[in-house]
């Protein structure tokens, strides 16, 4: 049977791919959970666009510093080696290609790497972009983590995005509850699928053509 990953399991799976020494920005929401699952002993430097490098574990209850929070407004700690800077320097890091990986959620990803994750045209809310466009465009690699399909069961990986874009041809890898998919110059390549899933099954819930990597593996994650 095909057991889909939970959101935390997606975060866990993505975290395994963050190599030692990378500088990684985690988008607000679900991506922020990724930092909990970096393998012990591996140093990954987490960046927050409000001017922090080297974010450590969440502070213990009662030990929060109200003047040290991430871009999701959660209390944080700094690791030894952490540093602080202002917004223009922070986005010099982002826009200038100094961030190795950013992790973002998505409404839609296209097979050419286009990303839509900031606005639903029919929303009554004011349009809010934050740092999403800067990160999508500036980071060396953009990892998307999301459910493979929308709540209505529609594919979110598409030939072409229908929603207003966040960035062009920027997504490098997609981590979903069903698969890990990389983008190469020819399109989308499935690197991992959950147990019981085959390419035809994955293709049936995907709006863009998928190829299977030669050495694809089963996508699995511990219970979290």
């Amino acid at each position: 049977m095909t057991e889909k990953l939970s959101r935390l399991q997606i975060a866990w799976r993505l975290a395994q791919d963050l190599e030692e020494g990378l500088v990684v920005n985690l988008g607000a929401g679900m991506p922020l959970t990724v930092s909990n699952y970096v393998p012990a002993g591996r140093e990954v430097i987490f960046h927050s666009e409000n001017g922090v490098l080297g974010i450590g574990p969440r502070p213990a209850a009662g030990r929060e510093n109200p003047q040290l929070r991430n871009a999701g407004n959660q209390p944080i700690t700094l690791l030894p080696g952490g540093s602080l800077f202002h917004h223009a320097d922070s986005f010099t890091m982002i826009r200038g290609g100094h961030i190795d990986v950013c992790v973002l959620g998505a409404y839609e990803v296209a097979e050419n790497g286009d990303l839509a994750n900031w606005i639903l045209p029919d929303s009554p809310r004011a349009p809010a972009v934050g740092g999403a466009m800067d990160l999508a465009t500036g980071a060396k690699r953009v990892f998307v983590m999301m459910e493979h399909c929308s709540k209505e069961g529609e594919p979110k990986i598409l030939k072409k995005c229908s929603l207003p874009l966040t960035g062009l041809a920027c997504v490098s890898s997609i981590y979903t509850d069903m698969a890990v998919i990389d983008r190469d110059p020819d399109g989308l390549v499935v690197r991992e699928m959950i147990a019981g899933m085959d390419l035809a099954g994955l293709q049936s819930v995907t709006g863009a053509s998928l190829r299977l990597a030669d050495h694809w593996r089963v996508l699995s994650a511990p219970l979290l």
């Binding site: 003047q67 602080l84 917004h87 986005f91 286009d114 004011a126 349009p127 972009v129 466009m133 062009l168």
Partner: protein, 221 residues
């Protein structure tokens, strides 16, 4: 003797007039100049243009100024907050203009103004609705969009410590947009938690040199 310390919040914002462009430091509710904004709201200036990362999320500061009907236009990256109904309602009523700007573009547009640079090119937003109507240009095979500087008449910021020359240091992630906005305005006004004698801040560690700061006011405890 140079002394940029003023004795009250009201004195600090005394000359912010109708139609002023005001840059705000702070991010979410980290290091926002709430007290300056609240005292400004008492004076009921009209038609202010506010550049800030986001609206007030705690009902303080900018929320008070907006509720007082002082704001005509908001330039920001994330115009959404627990109280952003206010923004949306006023937008629908045609009483508030909103310009959405990517966060890093906002920071750089203000820094540019402070650095005598009328605008710059960035790849950020190319291919998105936020680039529509802007000049596009290719450099080495990549497409960029031109973003114009945002010069403030005033900047209202929040800092940890100051001295009488206006030198500032911040604390933790409350630094964020504050030093950037300080560079981009004609007159920069800082609310600070502590004032120390000149010479007490280590010159190596001053984040905003006093050249960028015109007035400093200490918050009452």
């Amino acid at each position: 003797m140079i002394n940029k310390i003023v004795s009250s919040l009201a004195e600090a914002v005394r000359d912010i007039g109708d139609g002023s462009v005001i840059l705000l430091g702070g991010f979410i509710d980290q290091g926002t100049p709430d007290r300056l904004l609240e005292v400004l709201a008492e004076r009921r200036p009209r038609d202010l243009v506010i550049a800030t990362n986001n609206p007030s999320v705690n009902g303080r500061g900018l929320a008070v100024l907006m509720q007082a009907g002082c704001v005509r236009k908001l330039i920001c990256s994330f115009p959404r907050a627990p109280n952003s109904d206010l923004i949306e309602d006023r937008m629908r009523a045609g009483e508030l203009e909103l310009e959405v700007v990517p966060q890093g573009t906002l920071a750089e547009r203000v820094r540019s103004a402070g650095a005598g640079i009328p605008g710059f090119y960035t790849r950020t937003s190319v291919g998105t609705p936020l680039a529509e109507g802007k000049e596009h240009r290719d450099f080495e095979g990549e497409t960029y969009v031109f973003e114009a500087a945002i010069k403030g008449d005033f900047a209202l910021i929040n800092a940890h410590q100051a001295d009488r020359w206006g030198n500032l240091v911040y604390s933790g992630s409350w630094r964020n947009f504050n030093p950037v906005m300080a560079m981009g305005a004609r007159i920069t006004i800082a609310q600070v938690r502590e004032i120390v004698p000149a010479g007490e801040l280590d010159p190596e560690t001053i984040v905003t040199p006093g050249i960028f700061v015109n007035r400093v006011v200490r918050l009452e405890d």
